[in-house]
Symmetry: C2
Subunit: 234 residues, 2 copies
DNA sequence: CGACCGTTTGAAAGGCATCAAGGCCAGTGG
DNA sequence: CCACTGGCCTTGATGCCTTTCAAACGGTCG
């Protein structure tokens, strides 16, 4: 078991969190879970590998990614604390999953979770909600890719990160490098860097070091991200 | 009920297919369904509208789409016979749905379907599978958008259509116009037209009229779609 | 301190969009 | 019956945004 974790890099099983040890917020206390700690750039599972486990991020960050023959890479999404990974796969993973930085996660058996979902409607409901959220996120991203410029993509990304990991005063630390952002947005590292510099020049954001971001003009940023069309009201 | 269907264009309710009338392949014989016939360009539901109904396409084609403030449009996906629409929404539709051409569909109550899924594990399973399939399709599309050239996108699209509606000898009729394809692939109508002409010049496809396509060199086309092979080079 | 890796910045190239015009087909009305 | 008209499609010329190529910068860790 955990075969996909044994190759190359080491991923340490820190402890077991079974039914008895169910602490604060284990989402499925009925089934066993491992706490896993993985180092930067460790592969959680490979592209195309069978789906044996499902994970929830506790701390750190994970990227799902896919490679094209000639080396082009696309990042599917970034899983941050609280997010799930691996639930989308029917039988095999379409994207690989790798730790962006040192990451701690909860690991469940896919088989046990499926069994639980068959008998426990609330578990099925939770799975369904995670799937729906993932689908909604994917659809937002499709819009972004299809019709947005580099600057609009950058603004959308920053707005998303702001919503997901800001401290309340618009400050957050990006867990990923420029190259990861580029492969997430379908751009190059150079363009990502240029857009960030441009945003800093316009006083929309402030950068401390390379990873620390502060949102200065959220309204302008969100206007730029282009999503103002909810013509429906009811 | 069916409030989203009453605006402007007319969508006729042709009949009722309840439990008793469950003919060949109603997926949920336990709950009632309407058979709906909608004309070209009729809106099934609006962007941001509450999700009251779920549909399965019987014939024709439906596009889901979203507009940006300045008129830019993105098509989420094309639903062809057998495909589901509206199941992805948690409470509100992120994308609008419109008939690409005259379309017949089966219409279910969202509320009844949810209730059924709570008591009937097989129904929940079916919903989950539809969601997973949708998520997988969305993730393939994200890869396409992020890292593929215009020609690779066109090839991917044709390969997809070939798989979904070809007659067995690589012949199929596109239900949608060039503009729809463009908004689906994140290109312009001009570029779509140019790519098709280029493919015809290279004898990868044959066109009869504007909508009828025949795949001549499937291997080359699939190679071009980028999953495996090097980049397209003129 | 110095090498390395990620980041930033600049200059040039390329691919797709934009602008523009002409062709084809179906539906319409004289 | 046929010219007319409008929508959709195709093709060409030009421009712009992003990529590509290249080099310098800065922080980190031996």
């Amino acid at each position: 078991m955990l075969a996909s974790l044994t190759s190359g890099n080491h991923a340490a099983v820190l402890g077991r969190a079974g039914f008895a040890a169910a602490h604060n917020a284990t989402p499925f206390p009925q089934i066993a879970s491992h706490v896993l700690r993985v180092a930067r750039d460790t592969e959680l599972y490979a592209e195309g590998s069978p789906s044996h486990h499902v994970y929830q991020v506790l701390s750190g960050a994970v990227r799902t990614c896919k490679l094209l023959g000639d080396g082009r890479r696309q990042i599917g999404f970034f899983a941050l604390p609280g997010d799930w990974i691996g639930l989308d796969a029917a039988t095999r993973h379409l994207y690989a999953a790798e730790a962006v930085k040192t990451t701690v996660l909860l690991c469940f058996s896919r088989r046990e979770l499926d069994a639980l979902a068959r008998t426990e409607p609330t578990a099925a409901q939770l799975v369904q909600n995670v799937l729906r959220e993932g689908l909604a996120a994917a659809e937002r991203r499709i819009l972004m890719f299809g019709r947005k410029t580099a600057m609009e993509r950058m603004a959308s990304f920053l707005a998303d990160m702001d919503a997901r990991l800001a401290d309340g005063r618009g400050c957050f630390t990006l867990p990923m490098a420029r190259g990861d952002i580029a492969d997430y947005l379908g751009l190059t590292t150079e363009t990502v860097s240029r857009m960030l510099s441009e945003l800093r020049r316009r006083r929309a954001i402030a950068l401390e070091g390379t990873q620390s971001v502060r949102i200065l003009d959220r309204a302008w940023l969100e206007g730029l991200s282009g999503e103002e069309t909810p013509r429906y009201s009811a």
